[in-house]
């Protein structure tokens, strides 16, 4: 397997992790919003920020893959 192929697999693994992470954030945020609709705005903001943090990790993976590309 070429280094590019391995990099692509790495990026894919990073995407899986981030997908699970963002999924959990989204699910929990939805639950929280359903339970307490009065602080929906706050939950949304925090969920977006947290998703951005999780996503950053995946994007590091993507960038590493791009470095090999």
């Amino acid at each position: 397997m070429t280094i590019t192929g391995i990099a692509a697999i790495g990026a894919g693994l990073a995407a899986i992790g981030a997908g699970m992470g963002i999924g959990r954030i989204g699910g929990s945020a939805m639950e929280a919003m359903a339970r307490q609709p009065e602080i929906q705005g706050k939950i949304q903001t925090s969920a977006l920020i947290l998703a951005a943090f999780v996503e950053a990790v995946a994007l590091f993976g993507v960038v590493v893959a791009l470095l090999q590309g």
Partner: protein, 164 residues
Amino acid sequence: MDLVTPGFGLVFWTAITFLILLFILKKFAWKPILGAVSSREESIKDALAAAEAARREMENLQADNERILQEARAEREAMLKDARDMKNKMIADAKEEAKQSADKMIAQAQEAIQSEKKAAIAELKGQVASLSLEIAEKVVKQELSNKGQQEKLVEDMLGKATLN
């Protein structure tokens, strides 16, 4: 690799463009917009505060009115009570006075009756004495000889002339 290697030209132009953008927008856009928005918010806040103050004053006034009304009502109540008390007192006083004068009159009348009675008794006594003297004279004159009869007569006479 090329994709993640920053080119100097773009860094240079981005920095310059962004700084120009920041300074010009700060001076000519953000300051006026934020200033206008905050002064509008300030004026709204002031207006709200003024409205709140007015409302509070209104409430105060209303409370004052209520209080004054309350006071007036209490005063009226007190006045009425006073009047009623006075009336009662006057009635009571009058009753007392009347009673007293009536008592006095009764007492006087009784006194008068008593003295009349005493006078009458004294008179009666006098009369009885004179009567008895008269009788005694007659008896003495008539029966000075008959001593037994005399005594019997006196006795008889005195027994008959019981007082009262």
